[in-house]
């Protein structure tokens, strides 16, 4: 009798198992495939404020940036606290691939032309592939296009050039918080005199904190390791907010730097926050999708 009952129970055992399935999800029947989840949108834009961020524009996307810096806040009511004076940079950044971006710009400061290339070497990810940080390599070249200071002297075109090399390390710590560390070297072909260095080593830090989905506060600071540049130059500190509306990102900021290209704000910042040499400014970024992405379904 017991044996029959036992066999009976065994026979029905699968039914009990299935019965248990009823309550839970059918989807539990198939194993979930683990995917790699890349961190995205660590920053709203390719630039934190003046500095590069770890973001690139996607393949086939052109980012048109107009940046303005006004005069200093301490210039008085007569100059409307700096608003009477304005400097501008017009720039374009284009994504050759999702990870490789090139840029070009022109500034009113020194009538400088600049070109850049940024490559995202490592991408922060979780899931199947784990990578704690994003690492980008960045290089730019700037050419001062002002008249030669001393036209009598023999002047070389190369003397106009300055190069900037950066390793951009960044991590999106949470949905709202991203931080960056940016070891930098600026090489200046021509310097004022022998007491200053051609190669200048700098450490940059930057970050952003989202307040809402479309609003964030940002900040960046570039610390020049002492005794490399002339005493009249100071470290660059900028704080701002990012406002995103559809295809535009508006960045409003306060900064002690008037130049908007790498070598200018990193090594030629004359203003000091303590003295009130603070410039109000804004960047407007507008992206244009020049090439549609044709993503094919993943082959299995």
């Amino acid at each position: 009798m017991t044996k029959i009952l036992f066999a009976f129970l065994l026979f029905f055992f699968p039914f009990f198992l299935l019965a248990q399935d009823e309550g839970s999800s059918l989807l539990d029947l198939i194993e979930e495939e683990e995917t790699t989840n890349y961190a995205s949108a660590s920053f709203k834009s390719t630039h934190i404020i003046n500095s590069q961020s770890i973001e690139n524009v996607s393949e086939g996307v052109l980012d048109f940036r107009i940046s303005h810096r006004f005069g200093t806040l301490n210039s008085g009511i007569n100059n409307l606290y700096g608003l009477d004076q304005a400097t501008i940079r017009i720039g374009f950044d284009y994504g050759i691939t999702d990870r490789l971006m090139i840029g070009f710009g022109r500034s009113s400061v020194q009538k400088a032309l600049d070109g850049s290339v940024k490559f995202k070497a490592l991408r922060q990810s979780s899931g199947k592939k784990v990578m704690p940080i994003t690492l980008s390599l960045y290089a730019s070249i700037a050419s001062n296009m002002l008249e030669w200071a001393d036209a009598e002297r023999e002047n070389y075109f190369t003397s106009r050039l300055t190069y900037t090399y950066q390793v951009l390390l960044g991590r999106k710590f949470s949905e709202g918080t991203s931080l960056m560390l940016m070891p930098t070297m600026v090489h200046r072909n021509l310097v004022e005199n022998t007491s200053v260095k051609n190669d200048v080593y700098i450490i940059g830090i930057g970050g952003r904190q989202k307040l809402t989905n479309r609003l964030a506060i940002t900040g960046e600071y570039y610390y020049v390791i002492p005794d490399q540049i002339a005493d009249i130059y100071h470290n660059s500190l900028s704080v701002g907010i990012d406002i995103e509306t559809g295809g535009h990102v508006f960045q409003l900021q306060f900064t002690n730097s008037i130049g908007m290209i790498d070598k200018s704000f990193m090594t030629e910042t004359t203003g000091q926050w303590g003295n009130g040499d603070i410039h109000f400014g804004f960047n407007i970024s507008r992206v244009f999708t020049l090439k549609d992405r044709n993503k094919k379904p993943k082959e299995n």
């Binding site: 026979f11 479309r214 992206v287 993943k298 299995n300």
Partner: protein, 183 residues
């Protein structure tokens, strides 16, 4: 001997049940928003679906981050600002085919079905009902349905500046080819 028979019997019972279920990992779910200003389309080819042909129970699951848009920035905004993919990574449908008895899984053909159930998106669960079609061809079953969802119903906030670009009702198309689930 008896034990072996019992175990065999048990195995037969189990495998018998297994053939009732069909699944896919590569289901296609797309959505389309059309306004005079802009048409927006996004495709996802990685939807998971399981159908129980016996009870009619039908479930879908989709990772929001694997929706592909033509414009990269739209995709970023979709994930960041609208469906908030990091907070709500998945959208799930749990429901059933009400007239499952009308579908003969052993005979090829198109069977119109009525699907109803609950869809969870952006953390909000809503009841939906839609007509659909199951197409049986040999071992495979194609499931197709088109229905409309409103972002508002799922607490997806659309700011006034882009209000003209995003339709009030978004057309969702489901096309999934299911195969027998073998355990």
């Amino acid at each position: 001997m008896k034990t072996i028979t019992t175990i065999l019997l048990m195995a037969v019972t189990l495998s018998g049940f297994a053939q009732d279920k069909y699944f896919t990992r590569n289901g296609n779910i797309s959505f389309f928003s059309s306004t005079p200003v802009e048409d927006i389309k996004a495709d996802n080819f990685n939807a998971t679906a399981v159908l129980d042909s016996k009870t009619g129970a039908f479930e879908f699951s989709v990772l929001m981050k694997s929706f592909n848009f033509k414009k990269a920035l739209m995709q970023e905004h979709f994930n960041e600002n609208y469906v908030e993919s990091s907070k709500f990574p998945k959208s799930v449908f749990k429901g059933s085919i009400e007239n499952i008895s009308d579908v003969d899984f052993s005979k090829d053909g198109e069977y119109p079905v009525a699907v109803s159930g609950e869809i969870t998106l952006h953390g909000v669960t809503k009841q939906i009902t839609t007509p659909g079609v199951l197409t049986v061809s040999g071992e495979k079953i194609n499931s197709n349905a088109v229905f409309k969802l409103s972002p508002e119903d799922f607490d997806i906030e659309i700011p006034s500046v882009v209000r003209d670009k995003i339709a009030n009702e978004i057309e969702v198309t489901v096309a999934a080819e299911l195969e027998a689930l073998k355990r």
